[in-house]
């Protein structure tokens, strides 16, 4: 009865529904970088949020004193791998933006080493994004963005800027590094927003 098929929708039963379209499950943690890994000493590290009104700054010790959260989330790289159920610890951007006021709706994340990526502010708040300093219960490896990286898991992982040092408010959704060079301005994996 080779003509009998599993019917319409049978294919979707084989597929993990946590995987966005075009993604493949991996169990390792691939490293993708656009340049050398910067050596960032936590004694020299600071994190800033810059608005049209001024700069909010946290030293490493001040940052460590903020309330941190455990984050369990799936991550999706634009190069077609996804990793499910990853474990992070970090500070919610809701906490960091508590006393920040700005008229601007967009954010450019800046990293040590010069990398940038753009994200709308409303996609960083309400429990959607963190500054992560631990992965799997250990301090974040430099190759994965340590000492601290942005974690915005509902967007493709290039938005989760490694070695983040600053979030700068901006009036327009200007493109960051990869977004200027072919990748999508927004990057929703469920919409397959990979490229321009």
């Amino acid at each position: 009865m080779s003509f009998v098929t599993r019917g319409f929708g049978g294919r979707s039963r084989d597929r993990d529904e946590r995987l966005p379209p075009g993604q493949t499950l991996v169990h390792d943690f691939p490293v993708l970088s656009a340049g050398p890994t910067p050596e960032v000493d936590t004694a020299e590290w600071s994190f800033t949020i810059v608005t049209e009104a001024g700069t909010h700054r946290w030293s490493w010790d001040e940052f460590q004193a903020l309330p941190a959260e455990d984050i369990a989330t799936d991550i999706h790289c634009v190069t077609h791998w996804s990793k499910l159920g990853t474990s992070w610890r970090g500070v919610s951007l809701d906490t960091l933006f508590e006393d920040v006021e700005s008229q601007f709706d967009y954010v450019m994340a800046h990293s040590f080493g010069g990398y940038t990526t753009n994200v709308p502010l409303d996609e960083l708040l309400d429990g959607q994004a963190w500054i992560a300093t631990e992965f799997d219960g250990e301090p974040l490896d430099p190759e994965h963005g340590g000492p601290a990286r942005l974690l915005v898991p509902h967007l493709y992982f290039w938005k989760s800027a490694k070695w983040v040092r600053s979030l700068v408010m901006m009036p327009r959704d200007d493109p960051g590094f990869w977004e200027q060079n072919g990748y999508h301005i927004h990057g929703d994996p469920w919409q397959e927003e990979r490229y321009w």
Binding site: P30, L32, G35, V78, W178, N181, G182, Y195
Partner: protein, 85 residues
């Protein structure tokens, strides 16, 4: 002065985009160094290729490839010198 649309580039650029880019020189917008692309630092990953200045590590150029589509960026150079044979 009136301008032409981009189609007018097809003829002139066809002569130049066949060159061996490694032998071409470019000026880094970061530090001003003029060097052959062959001397640059090239970082490759599945996300794309990033070409950096060997002197200051400023990004000179990028290449993103996705099937039939490719994006070639030269955001970090002011000009490329190509030696004509």
């Amino acid at each position: 002065m009136d301008h032409l649309d981009g189609n007018a580039l097809a003829g002139p650029l066809a002569d130049y985009f066949t060159f061996d880019v490694t032998a071409a020189t470019a000026r880094c917008n970061g530090c001003g160094e003029v060097a052959e692309f062959a001397r640059a630092l090239v970082f490759t990953s599945p996300a794309g290729t990033v070409v950096r200045c060997a002197t200051c590590e400023h990004v000179l150029a990028t290449l993103v490839e996705a099937g039939e589509r490719a994006w070639l960026g030269f955001s970090g150079v002011s000009a490329i010198e190509v030696r004509r044979a």
